[in-house]
Every structure is written in structure tokens, then in C-alpha cells.
Point group: C3
Chain length 140, copies 3
């Protein structure tokens, strides 16, 4: 297990606009503001979702999309450093019209209807993502 | 995109009682303590859930309920200002007896069995909700 | 309703290793670091999940497991004091290969594939869990 310690820094709230790309818009924000360590949570609604499931045996991402409006019921993730740049990693639970739960790793291509995001900046040495042989992922 | 910055303030933990209304009880607490900017997360269990799904085309909420005991597996939301008063906006992911996921926008009428809530107060100018033509919602 | 107030303290980020027990590893960390009040959120993936659903009428936990790889899409919980020791209480929303939502109270026996955890330490008098007659649970 690896562990890191931080002091709680500034909290940024973002309200994304309709048709923003959920992943790309938050990524651009953290890059523009040089935020390289943060904890992220969010809620709202999307027009469609581009998600990924990691095949733990094959060590490959399986991409899929849900092409219908969804509530974003709970999103969680973080900002760390990958290849010298701020990198966003987020997962989310969704619910459809019938209240049925869905979810996955949130990829670019997820189109915002309305979204409220908290970015809790972490003051301290940022976690750095490096290739991890055991999982095939880049992990801090 | 709109953005706001805050210093992290006091963290309030609440433990709601059995038969409390989940939404109304947290709302009353933040009003009584004059909390007008906060980030909220929660977990626990409810006796029943009153939820909403927003129809993005019709721009209307579709209310529905789940009339069975549910675990609250991840709740996320925030407090901002609407019409001059603290306003609570929360979504949650639930799971039923079989571990099946459910979820939605949490409405009044959701009856607590046991609930643990974190209210992270945000020190700074509170976000204010105003009507948004594009979505038909009130957004900060 | 009971309420508690804290100042936000150190934020610990943990990255658990493959085959770590999700619940036991976080518990050992908070005990080793004498963290007795904290708010916890997490995301990642597990090889299998050991979950519980609380039967509100019978006042007993019903344990079940999901014996397949799952994304952890949103985990929420806290650290308080039970029997004089730090005690971890966590719930999580999961998603399977098809993006279908699952969830429950996370028990020991949940095997990590990769997991990222935020532990927000809360500075102040820790909440203490005591038996609650109304629910049959130990609650702060």
C-alpha cells in the first residue's frame, strides 16, 4: 500500500454547461489552474455516457456507452500527475429514467446536461502515476 | 462553465434518526445554522425513497418512489442559495436486498432508517441558484 | 438527530495493492495512525465483493457476495470509535462488465484489484458508536 498526506487546500466548485464534455472540461480546468493533486466529487445529469470497464484478466479497457439521458447520482475521483501533467481519474454511478443503477469509469465523450463538481485541492507533493505491472494500469 | 473558490470550513457530521425525512431534516439543519455554501456526502439506509428523474426533453421532473428498504450506498450534493435561503440539492445511489443498484435525485418523502451525513462548509461567497433557460433548472 | 463539528485536518490518500482486503487494509491504516474521526471516499476496482444488506424488520445483516470483477464507482464512509478503537463504516456503489449498478455495505472479504482512497481526518472530539435500540445498529 502507498500513502500520501496533504493539507486541505482551496475548494473549487464548477458548474459545467450543457453539451460540455464531462471529462475533458474538468481536465482543462485543472490544467489551466495548475491543480496537480485534488479529490473530486460530482453530481448532475448527462445526455449520454461514455464509460469503461477494465477487464482484469485481459488487462484491457472495454469501452461502452449508454446513449440515453442519465442522472449522475455519485461521482468520485482525483487529480494526480501523469507524464508531467495533471491527470483526472473519475468513476460515477448513474441512474436512468426507471431509477435503475448503472456505472463505470468515466471516459471522454460523456456529454453534460448539467453538472456540479467539487475539486478539493490537496496541498503537498502530488501523487505521480506510473505503470503498474500487476494490474496493467498507471497508478500512484 | 462557472467556477467558485472557497476555503474549507467546519465539517458537520449529522446522524439522522429513524423516520426523519432525509431531505427536510438536512435542509432544516443548514437553515438553522445559516450554512449557505457546503458540499454534502452521506450513507446509510432508508425505509423508502422518493426520487426524481429529470426529463431533459420535456424539462420536467418525473417523480417516482421505491417503497422498500434500501441501503444508501453513496449520496452526493451541495448547499447553495435559492431565493435568499440555503437550498439543498442531493442525489444518491441505493442498493436493494439483492444488491441491485438504484438511484436518482433525492426528494422530500425519503424516510430515514439510519443516516450519516458530512456537511463540509465552504467559506466564501455562496453560489446562488437562478433559472437556466437551457436546462429549465435553477443552477448556480 | 445528533450533530458533531470538526475542523478539517490532514487528508491521507491511500492506494491499496492487488489482493488487499479492502475493509481490513483501511481499518489497519486508521488504527496504526490513530485516526479516530474521518470521512472516507474511494473508487477503483475489486476482484470480488463481500457485501451486507441490513434487514430493517429482522434487525439482522444479510451477507452476500458478488464473485466477479467490479468497478468501484463510488464509495463513502467514515471512521468513528467503537469499543475504544477506530472503526470503519463504508458503503459502495459498484458496476459490473455490462455497466449494471450494484451496491451495499462493504464487509471484510472484498478483494482489491486497485483502489484509491481519501481519508479526510476530522479534528475534534470523535463520534462514539453505541448500541441503538431503535435500529439494532451501533450508531454515533
Amino acid at each position: 500500500m502507498r500513502s500520501f498526506r496533504f493539507d486541505p487546500g482551496t475548494v473549487h466548485l464548477l458548474r459545467l454547461d450543457t453539451d460540455d464534455d464531462l471529462y475533458d472540461t474538468i481536465t482543462e480546468y485543472v490544467k489551466r489552474h495548475h491543480i496537480d493533486a485534488a479529490w473530486v466529487t460530482f453530481l448532475g445529469a448527462v445526455k449520454r455516457a461514455s464509460l469503461r470497464y477494465y477487464d482484469q484478466d485481459q488487462k484491457t479497457y472495454v469501452d461502452f456507452s449508454i446513449d440515453e439521458p442519465l442522472e449522475v447520482v455519485a461521482g468520485v475521483g482525483n487529480v494526480s500527475v501523469l507524464d508531467g501533467e495533471p491527470f483526472l481519474h473519475i468513476h460515477a454511478a448513474f441512474a436512468d429514467e426507471s431509477g435503475t443503477g448503472r456505472g463505470g469509469h468515466v471516459n471522454a465523450g460523456t456529454v453534460v446536461f448539467a453538472l456540479e463538481v467539487s475539486i478539493q485541492v490537496l496541498d503537498g507533493e502530488p501523487p505521480v502515476r506510473l505503470p503498474d505491472d500487476c494490474t496493467g494500469l498507471t497508478l500512484w
